[in-house]
Amino acid sequence: MSATALGQLLPLFIAVPLLSAGLLVIAGDRRRLHRAVLFGALGLVTAGGLALGVRSLDGSVLAASLGGWPGGIGIGFAADMLSALMLVLTSALTIVGAAFAYGSRVANSQYFAPLLLILIGGVNGALLTADLFNLFVFIEVMLVPSYGLYVLSANRREPLRRVDGARLYVTLNLLTSTILVVGVGFVYGLTGSVNLAVLAGAAVADTRVAVAAGMVLFALSIKASVVPLHGWLSWAYSSTSPAVTGLFAALHTKVAVYALYRVYSVLYDGDPRLLPVLLVLAVATLVIGALASVGEHGVRSILSWQMVSGIGGILVGLGLSTRLGLAAGLFYLVHHMVAMGCLLMATGAIEVRYGTGRLADVQGLARREPLVAAAFFVGLLSLVGIPPFSGFVGKLMLVTAGLDAGRTVTVGLVLAASLVSLWALLRVWDAWFWGEPTAPHGHRERLATAALPIVGAAATAPAPSGRGSSTDEERTESWASGETLGPPTGVLPVTVDPDEDVTRSRIPFRLAAPAVVLALATLALGLGGQALWTVTDVAAQGLTDPSRYIEAVLHP
Amino acid sequence: MMPFAYDWSLAGIDLAIGLLTVAALVSAYRIVVGPLDADRAVSGDLLTFSALGMLVLFGVRTDNGWTFDLVLIAAIVAFLSGMSLARALTRGKR
């Protein structure tokens, strides 16, 4: 098939998930069907992404102008190595995340599969579009199902914090989208186009465009949680269910980062005047994320801050904007998605089965859950950049690129932050994995105060109708009044057997498997760093010299 | 500055727009001061109707061919907004 004809197939990356979603909604609550269609569609997308990646290895770009309109008139779609890489990653991680969600039963809802499919359709659109306004639209297509997934975990047995988190998440994203769309509008007002290829270099040529497009970068930075707009993430991400946090971690901030890379590469043509600012913000994000991570007491808060810190690391690559720096940043991006996913799913499995996300509540899991512990530790090693895992190659290349560009302070802070991150994660390891296995601490008090009826009901369905004491309000109140109760991680209640054998594993394999898979993946990406580096290098080349991308979009 | 040339055939419209603006601002005042939510709701109604009137007059003034289409739809939905306000007073009680 010709490149033009192939390019016309790009919208299928969105059409397949969305059509699946629509049909599943019509089909109603048929779980087996939902599961099969979900994984089938995700598998198709991953396979398509891989094919796209193989095709892009020589730096070529597939493009289309939709609706058969000339380039620049219709909405432009384009896939280069960067898009392909992100497509594969996001869909592959979504498969793992969805598997975890099914393991943790968040996916029991009939809304789960359709929402997730729409989400992935939005992600794919955002990754493929070469049009600023269309980017806004697809970011919305990503966001709205995300709100849905968020609230799915806020059912009536969950604490109020889930709703509070959803409120924060939705309002913040709405504000951000508004800023984004105004930025796009201003860019149109100044240049008469929203097509990335038409806009290539416009921000260098006209300072006004640079400021207007600065609004776009600004909005994307909020979504990516760049300092000083970082605060929301740890609150919002730690307030939903572990499965949802896992999915979001892989998708949202990373798509925002992708867009930052793309827009800066094309619209600003890598303008060196802004690089110091970008670098300062990136490093600040990196350091603040790492520091805040040490100060937390809930595992998902710790990990959320690590996510922020990781964004900083990824953006250091953009702040350098050399080919080496961009390749390193992208490598770090891939690594961070995988390693973070591994950690979130390992701790998520524990949170789900032990009913708490607090450091103080659980211990001795290295012996009780060796598989999950191993996965966690691999994730930890990888995240702080210890060989032979992917994080090592990522950090090494980031440091090398930084030194290559003469940014020694940056490099110093990158290294220092990784030590702080190590300390933050070691706290989790120390508290949760070492020591003698016991029953979760916070749990008995919780049982004693409020959750007992729920546990009873869960064990002996159908329950009596008078389950008044299990309302959120009352539970939350008891949680609020009890000093010993943990934060509402929302995975309570877990059945507690007083004669529980505390050395017997509680986590079934299906729940541990996602973390293990990702642990193996981060190992493979470290050992097989050659292949990934080749890919990110091609992607970085496309960013430093976007001419082929621009040409393809203008003349698909 | 362009020389001031006023089209007197628009005088009635402009005067009406001015009067409607006055009515609208008065309604806004009543909305702020209340004192009852019923006062606010009824002032909201008047403000809505004033805006609707302005819509008609602006449409004629700018020679907008779709003015009456818009007003037709607006007449329908403005009614819903008024009904909703009434229902809001009773906290949803029908």
Binding site: S177, V182, G185, G189, P487 | -
Partner: protein, 143 residues
């Protein structure tokens, strides 16, 4: 000038409402901000040409720019959808639709949540460890 002022006022109102405790006011702020954004986008197409963008309705040179209109139409509908969702969220949760900040002790629930994030006992313990300094340290060699 007129449209710029309008956008400015709407933005002012929006951010003023963002500082409020109640989610409903925040939502209304979002509605205002949405108006501001939409007007700004329309303005980006120019407010000098105001003739309807219908083929044959007027001379092309005086017709309003249709593209920002299409953008705004899309944006309005998306914002409407999300507003509906926010409204649903506003009644799902606390009876008072507010979430207090940790500094405000008036909301006991929120206070509890923030304490849970930074448990007092643990804070004190950590502070104590720092204060005690060397007094409490072992050499690490097995006794």
């Amino acid at each position: 000038m007129t449209i710029a002022l309008t956008v400015g006022m709407l933005t002012f109102g929006a951010f003023y409402l963002f500082s409020k405790r109640e989610l409903l006011r925040v939502i209304l702020g979002m509605v205002l901000l949405g108006h501001a954004a939409n007007l700004a986008i329309i303005a980006a197409g120019g407010t000098d040409r105001r003739a309807l963008p219908f083929v044959g309705a007027a001379d092309v040179e005086v017709q309003a720019d249709p593209l920002p209109q299409a953008f705004v139409l899309t944006a309005i509908v998306i914002a409407f959808a999300i507003t509906v969702l926010l409204l649903a969220l506003a009644v799902t949760g606390r009876a008072d639709d507010a979430v207090a900040t940790p500094g405000e002790a008036r909301d006991p629930l929120e206070q509890a949540a923030s304490d849970a994030r930074f448990p007092r006992a643990e804070r004190h313990a950590a502070a104590g460890r720092i204060a005690r300094g060397r007094a409490g340290r072992r050499t690490g060699v097995r006794p």
